[in-house]
């Protein structure tokens, strides 16, 4: 009997050690704070810091990123809007004054510089009828697929997620050998909640096409379109509830873009933004 009790005690001790190892509290370093970014690409404020907390408190800490239009760019937007109205009304003098003020503050602001140059050259520029979505300080240039940084697959996949996209602030890409993904934060007044681009390397074009089929065409079956963008067919669709996605293949590479809509917004409305982004990819 004593031996059985000792055996039971030993087994109980072993189980306790194992359970204890899985449940022990520990100190964890987490990043916490808020970064406020202007949708024109610069940081407004940043109080992100790394702190050490007990593991029980980890879930309470994260890094929020807010995208706003800073006061300076709000003023520039107002001036720009006034300049476009003046151009439309034929008042090039007023337009020139407004555009000069804009270019002095930010030479890359929308089409201000090019319009000002045309006015100075004695020509009348066309008014900018844009979507109202803020653009970055410089026009994002699509990268050529051949510009790969490394010889490993993830290096060449990175061309599908540029550092800047109109209306979005890029986060750090998440890189694996055969997959790379990047989230883009939309402007805070956008109807988009989240946006991610994923690029995956497959063995054959057939495998990439199968991925397009299973992950985009069969998942996003509503509001379907198949436009030709940059010479290739892109499949765009929604799930009818919250998500809109686009998918394409280039050789053995499968690229997917997925957006989710904020509460109250229809995913169908995100399709035009997807097309705008696709026009900025290679």
């Amino acid at each position: 009997m004593k031996r059985v009790l000792a055996l039971a005690a030993a087994m109980g001790l072993l189980a306790s050690v194992a359970l204890g190892a899985s449940a022990c509290s520990k100190k964890v370093e987490v990043q916490t704070g808020t970064k406020t970014v202007c949708s024109y690409g610069h940081t407004v404020s940043d109080d992100i810091r790394t702190i050490e907390v007990s593991s029980d408190e980890v879930a309470l800490h994260r890094v929020e990123t807010k995208t706003v239009v800073c006061d300076r760019h709000k003023k520039l937007e107002t001036l720009y809007g006034d300049a476009q109205k003046a151009i439309g009304a034929g008042d090039l003098k007023t337009a020139q004054a407004k555009l000069t003020e804009i270019v002095a503050a930010d030479t890359g602001f929308k089409m201000a510089k090019s319009q000002l140059d045309r006015i100075k050259a004695g020509q009348k520029p066309a008014p900018d009828s844009g979507t109202g979505t803020p653009s970055g300080g410089s026009t994002p240039k699509p990268q050529n697929p051949g510009d790969s940084e490394t010889s490993v697959p993830s290096g060449s996949l990175k061309v599908w997620m540029p550092d800047s996209l109109t209306g979005f602030t890029a986060s750090e890409p998440i890189v694996d050998v055969l997959t790379i993904s990047r989230t883009y934060r939309p402007a805070s007044d956008s109807k988009i909640l989240t946006f991610v681009i994923v690029a995956e390397q497959y063995r054959t074009p057939k495998d990439a096409a199968a991925a397009l089929d299973s992950r985009i065409k069969r998942q996003y079956t509503k509001d379907v379109d198949a436009p030709t963008i940059k010479g290739r067919t892109v499949h765009i669709g929604t799930d009818g509830k919250q998500f809109a996605a686009a998918g394409l293949t280039k050789g053995s590479v499968f690229v997917a873009l997925e957006m989710s809509a904020k509460d109250g917004a229809a995913p169908k409305a995100l399709k035009s933004t997807l097309v705008e982004v696709l026009n900025q990819l290679p």
């Binding site: 072993l14 990123t65 989240t194 994923v198």
Partner: protein
């Protein structure tokens, strides 16, 4: 051959059960095997032993029958009742129903004084468990192996089933030694089969499922019966150590299916991290060999105890090499245990929450939560018990076996330095953990070169090599008996 039956039978039982979970009632999954095993008993021994056992004393009949029912019906039923297709995940289920059962059997064997070298057996068990955990934690990235985190109750019950299985095994072995294996095994399997059939009969879904008895269920029954017979034959012929060693190798057999699959075709990226996995496999093989051949069968017939042997190893009559090895290994053991509470792996998580907030955390995994931490303990214990074994006249080849196993474990610990045994934790936000391996979250683990643990590993390696170099092994049994007597 019996060992092969155990490994193949257990692996087949695990895999086929996984396939049929949720489709076939638990009573049926656990009841088919004993029925087939009883058929083999009747075919092997005839009905005579069954009849003889039936007229034996009631007490003996009940004890043997209970042991058989517990080992071959109740324990498997307990395990099946705690399983869903992927909850607990396959890696954890395999860990808690094979190598853990081996360790529990070793503990039971040691407590029943059925081994010459209890410390070696325990060291081999610790090493084997650490090796298996290291192997299963490298099946994929991110790993699904995080024992006792998501399914602690289910996994504790699986361990309880293992403990019951171990105690029942010893009971059957003891009875077989007294009454003969034919009578005992036949009676044990008869009880298991009757209870298994009864379980099916009282479970209407199980009864209805019998009509759908198909090839997978039959194969499961065959696998379970094969394991049962392999187990009984091996414990009878070579002792429970050997059976424990065989079941320790089941994770290796299941992992090898990945090789078979890839040889036939390619299904995308290879999930197994083969470098640490192969290192873990060598540890498992070494631990199994030590358990099977290094511990001996039968009670310690008046030979010296581990502590007496350790005192002898430090004594004045002992060559300097032996004393140095014993001192170094004693220190290594202490350091390796201390190393369980020092940093072993640096972990970091980067992710994106559903609301778009970025998540970033870094923490340290302790030795007790890592493969290397436990491998250091196992290696030090193996080597120390190998040196002490010289006091027990364990035989030169047996001593070398244990010391080489310790060296293999030390080398493997380096390849497993990045392996944490806990990828999933209770405190990490669920939405982040669920996204591991996707574009929304990643987890990285990097081994920490921590002085205490690596000093233990280094000392173990040096001391084991020293001990292996000893040519003229002093005969210590007489010396120690003299000391003990005085």
């Amino acid at each position: 051959m019996s060992a092969l039956l155990i490994v193949v039978g257990a692996a087949g039982t695990f895999l086929l059960t996984t396939v049929m979970l949720g489709q076939v009632p638990d009573a049926l999954l656990a009841g088919v095997g004993p029925a087939l095993a009883l058929g083999v008993a009747v075919a092997r021994y005839g009905p005579g032993p069954l009849v003889a056992q039936a007229v034996a004393s009631r007490g003996t009949l009940v004890r043997v029958g209970l042991a058989g029912a517990v080992a071959f019906w109740a324990a498997p039923l307990l395990v099946v009742s705690q399983r869903a297709t992927d909850a607990p995940p396959g890696s954890e289920t395999l860990f808690f129903t094979t190598v853990s059962w081996s360790a529990l059997l070793v503990v039971t064997v040691v407590f029943h004084r059925r081994t010459y070298a209890p410390v070696i057996a325990l060291a081999a068990a610790v090493t084997g468990v650490a090796g298996a955990a290291g192997l299963l934690a490298n099946w994929e990235r991110p790993s699904s192996f995080s024992p006792f985190v998501r399914y602690p109750t289910e996994e504790l019950i699986m361990l309880l089933a293992g403990a019951l299985f171990a105690v029942a095994t010893i009971e059957l072995l003891a009875a077989a030694e007294r009454l003969g294996s034919a009578r005992v095994f036949s009676a044990a399997l008869a009880w298991a089969a009757v209870l298994g059939a009864g379980g099916i009969a009282v479970d209407p879904p199980a009864l209805a499922s019998l009509e759908r008895l198909g090839t997978p269920l039959l194969l499961l029954g065959i696998a379970h019966a094969a394991f049962t017979w392999g187990w009984l034959l091996l414990i009878e012929r070579r002792g429970p150590h050997s059976a424990g060693a065989a079941i320790m190798l089941v994770p290796v057999a299941v992992t090898s299916l990945a090789v078979v699959e890839r040889a036939r075709s390619v299904y995308g990226a290879n999930p197994v991290h083969w470098s640490p996995a192969l290192a873990a496999i060598t540890v498992l093989l070494a631990a199994a060999v030590v358990l099977a051949f290094g511990c001996g069968n039968g009670p310690d017939g008046g030979r010296t105890s581990f502590w007496s042997g350790l005192r002898w190893a430090f004594g004045g009559r002992v060559p300097l090499l032996v004393r140095a090895a014993a001192a170094a290994l004693s220190l290594a053991t202490v350091l390796s245990v201390a190393g369980l509470f020092t940093p072993a792996v640096a972990a970091s998580v980067r992710g994106l929450a559903p609301d778009g907030a970025r998540f970033s955390s870094d923490w340290t995994v302790l030795g007790i939560e890592s493969a290397t931490g436990w491998l250091a303990v196992g290696a030090a214990l193996l080597a120390l018990s190998g040196v002490v074994m010289t006091a027990q006249d364990g035989g030169r080849s047996r001593v070398r076996l244990v010391l080489v196993a310790a060296l293999v474990t030390v080398v493997a610990a380096w390849f497993l330095r990045d392996t944490s045994l806990y990828t999933v934790t209770r405190w990490m936000p669920a939405e982040i953990q669920q996204a591991y391996g996707t574009e929304y979250a990643r987890i990285r683990m990097r081994g920490v070169i921590e002085p205490v643990r690596y000093a233990a590993l280094g000392l173990t390696a040096v001391a084991a090599l020293l001990a292996l170099s000893i040519r003229n092994r002093p005969s210590a049994t007489a010396d120690v008996k003299e000391e003990v007597a005085s």
